[in-house]
Amino acid sequence: MAGPMKIRATAAGGFTDIRVLMTHPMETGQRKDPDGKLVPLYFIQTVTVKLNGRTVVDGQISQGVSRNPVFSFRIKGGARGDKVEVAWEDNTGETSSIEAAVA
């Protein structure tokens, strides 16, 4: 079950700054549980950012990213009221997304 996400998008000086928080364990596959068994790989693989439905970031990330990651993006253009959508998909195929209007 995907936990909550949080997003903040602000437009200023011809740029749109997007900051997004994600809930994810981001397991590296290297860690062992208390019983000594490997905790399986479990991490976000792709992150996409859309501005008014147009993909502006199509990113691939890996286990090197911390648990509950925070990302921020600066996108050229964008205005107040534009729709920003951030979505991720992890290596198990689970997805989550959030959208907000640029403030």
């Binding site: 996400m5 928080l21 509950n68």
Partner: protein, 272 residues
């Protein structure tokens, strides 16, 4: 020839001094870097994720009475959250004792929701994989006091009593290592690894602490509360584990908060 010799000597002197300077400048650089890192994590804090979770838990009907905590009185009236955290710990007439946020939440869980103390405290300190209900609730409620000045109760006799007990406990040495809180938090300039140890009986040290707890801890991805901090300090001092919401922990939190009062609340913060 002679001048060259002197110059060479001067270089020698310089060369002798340089290694002595490097550690201090490095220490300053790393301190600056730590500050920069703190600022970066403060700007997009995962504590906000716990706030979202806490809000859902606050509104979720639970316990034998199947009611939510929305009618819980945190001191400003039933269900009032805005600024409530900044006024804690304080004396509560209905319980006839001083309570901090978590103790009050526990009180509401047992009275409003009809849960037993045992079931409500079964898992008060969570893990990264499974945060506890108390932690998420603390994040949500503390966040509603952002910008409010920390103003815990200081006038009721029981509040004064709790402060005095907390102060006494702070300096009271006990346990197999004969430690008190002041053993670590009693002298300026002390650190444990990269963590500066604030001298918590001094207002200037206590203020930023009070203004930023509870907090998200980046190194183990957990949300930590003041009750946890007291519990874990006692563990590190090799003392018997204090009861959750006990007179001892509440007294220490009261002493700390009263010492650091007046600072606008900026939390839930971020810890290394």
């Amino acid at each position: 020839m002679r001048a060259a010799g002197l110059l060479g000597f001067a270089f020698w002197i310089l060369a002798l001094f340089i290694p002595a300077f490097i550690p201090t400048s490095l220490a300053q650089d790393s301190k600056k870097e730590i500050q920069r890192y703190r600022q970066m994590i403060a700007e997009g804090s995962p504590a906000e994720l716990f706030e979202v979770e806490g809000e859902a838990l606050w509104k979720k009907p639970q316990g034998p009475n199947n009611v939510s905590l929305e009618k819980c009185d945190l001191g400003l009236g039933a269900g009032v959250l805005k600024g409530a955290y900044a006024r804690l710990p304080r004396y509560f007439k209905d319980a006839d004792r001083v309570m901090d946020l978590e103790t009050r939440l526990l009180h509401c869980m047992t009275t409003l929701q009809g849960r037993t103390r045992e079931s409500a405290t079964a898992r008060v300190f969570g893990s990264a994989d499974r945060p506890s209900e108390m932690e998420s609730l603390s994040a949500y409620i503390a966040a509603q006091s952002r910008g409010a000045k920390m103003a815990p109760g200081v006038s009721h006799p029981k509040e004064k009593e709790a402060y005095a007990l907390g102060r006494a406990l702070y300096f009271h040495r006990a346990g197999p290592w004969d430690f008190s809180c002041a053993s670590c938090h009693g002298e300026e300039g002390k650190r444990i690894r990269m963590q500066d140890l604030p001298v918590l009986y001094k207002p200037e040290h206590a203020r930023p602490v009070v203004a930023s707890w509870p907090a998200y801890r980046v190194s183990n991805s957990q949300f930590i509360t003041l009750q946890w901090r007291m519990n874990d300090c006692y563990r590190q001092m090799r003392m018997p584990e204090p009861n959750f919401g006990s007179e001892t922990t509440v007294a220490l939190i009261t002493f700390l908060t009263v010492t650091g009062k007046g600072e606008p609340y900026r939390g839930p913060g971020n810890k290394r």
